[in-house]
Amino acid sequence: MSDTSEDWPLYEVFLRGKRGLNHVHVGSLHAADAHMALHHARDVYTRRNEGVSIWVVASKDITASSPDEKDPFFAPSGDKVYRHPTFYAIPDNVPHM
């Protein structure tokens, strides 16, 4: 019975909750193809109007950074405090800044 030819590939599902919001990852599901994945995503993830738009992406097509937040991958932004507005001291009597 462990016939792998009938095991469908994994898709990741992204939902736009309402107009004006980004699509957000909500989970995954198995489907034979992308078209079926969309239909399954509708049934599994939007039974109560949780979305106005769905994206599905084959999980194998996602390239991800390494998970550890201390990863040197993110180091370049770690020491650039001058990218933040609080880096600059402005006197309190200067308005609208």
């Binding site: 019975m1 462990s2 016939d3 792998t4 030819s5 009938e6 095991d7 469908w8 994994l10 989970g27 995954s28 599901l29 198995h30 034979a32 193809d33 079926m36 049934d43 599994v44 039974r47 109560r48 991800a64 390494s66 998970p67 550890d68 201390k70």
Partner: protein
């Protein structure tokens, strides 16, 4: 990083009550425990469709049919959310299904009891889903991110499940004497199995300490059981049914209800496979899986055929164009 450093990083994440995400390093025991916990929970949702699914075609009105259908569909959805969370730990969903139907993995003992009358549908919503909510709300803060997120989604939907059950029972309690007797009978049958849903007593629950240290369990079994009893007694009074426990009474000193001892021998028997419906539940799941095999295979074959860049029809058309079509 060395294993010691990885372990320290993991421990710090837990200590700060941050979430562990799938690709993080985690101790083998944590991974194994999470896989077991999540897949057992997923299996429970899937098997849990059966006691109520039986009543969909027998529900007494279109309204009740539609509600029950939506509820059972939710259970399927909950199973899917949870299988998805389990898969982030590197297990395969099809393999989990195979482990369920081979009896290698368990599901909640509660679903091995029969649903004998339509009142059972109401009592399952009220007591079984009520107990499930009690168990699941703290799991929304599980240290394992994908599980916690699935639980948040599930808890939002469970509230409908419990309320539809209670409303169904209120309706029956306003009916005939026979209908009220059905509600009482169903309450009698489901009360003790519902208390068993919280698992063995704390002094017989060896994994609790480690699970609490890992942040994958937030309260002990007995704490949650007590909370459920305290919440449910006033609901039973409002409904007008008695709960089948002569020892059930308010304890002013403790500020909680005292209640009798659960029959743990029965609990162990049902877990072991000797409940009233174990064989039937697994048999149905196996039959559904096996008789669906050709559909999965056909859909996969269809997808493979259409995934190739050019089908034979396309190729014929292209050849015709290359050779100069009939219009020329």
């Amino acid at each position: 990083m060395t294993t010691v450093e990885l372990q320290e990083h993991f421990d710090r994440t837990i200590a700060h009550d941050r979430r562990i995400e799938p690709r993080d390093w985690m101790p083998d025991g944590y991974r194994k425990t999470m896989i077991r916990q999540i897949s057992q929970h997923a299996h429970s949702e899937i098997i849990g469709m059966q006691p109520e699914g039986y009543w969909i075609t027998r529900a007494p009105s279109l309204r009740r049919k539609a509600i029950l259908l939506a509820k059972v569909q939710d259970e399927a959805g909950h199973g899917m959310y949870l299988y998805c969370a389990a898969e982030t730990l590197g297990v395969d969903r099809a393999d989990l299904t195979r482990r369920l139907i081979s009896g290698d993995q368990k599901y909640s003992s509660i679903f091995n009891y029969p649903s004998l009358t339509f009142a059972d549908v109401g009592v399952i919503g009220w007591l079984v889903d009520g107990a499930a909510i009690c168990n699941q709300v703290p799991l929304c803060r599980s240290s394992f991110g994908p599980y916690a997120r699935a639980m948040i989604r599930i808890c939002k939907e469970e509230s409908f499940h419990q309320r539809q059950g209670y409303e169904l029972l209120m309706t029956m309690m306003r009916g005939t004497r026979a209908q009220r007797a059905m509600v009482q009978d169903a309450s009698n049958r489901w009360w003790w199995p519902s208390l068993m849903m919280f698992g063995p007593p704390d002094n017989d629950s060896p994994n609790t300490e480690q699970s609490m240290a890992w942040g994958i369990k937030r309260h002990t079994n007995d704490e949650l059981r007590q909370r459920f009893v305290d919440m449910t007694v006033p609901q039973a009074e409002a409904l007008g049914v008695t709960l089948p426990d002569p020892d059930l009474r308010w304890n002013e000193e403790r500020g909680h209800y005292d209640f009798g001892e659960v029959d743990w021998a029965e609990f162990k028997r049902v877990i072991r496979g000797d409940g009233p419906c174990n064989a039937e539940r697994i048999g149905n799941r196996r039959a559904a899986h096996e008789s669906g095999a050709w559909v999965r295979a056909a859909a996969a074959a269809h997808a493979t055929k259409h995934a190739s860049p050019a089908t034979s029809d396309d190729q014929a058309a292209m050849q015709q164009n290359a050779q100069g079509g009939p219009d020329e």
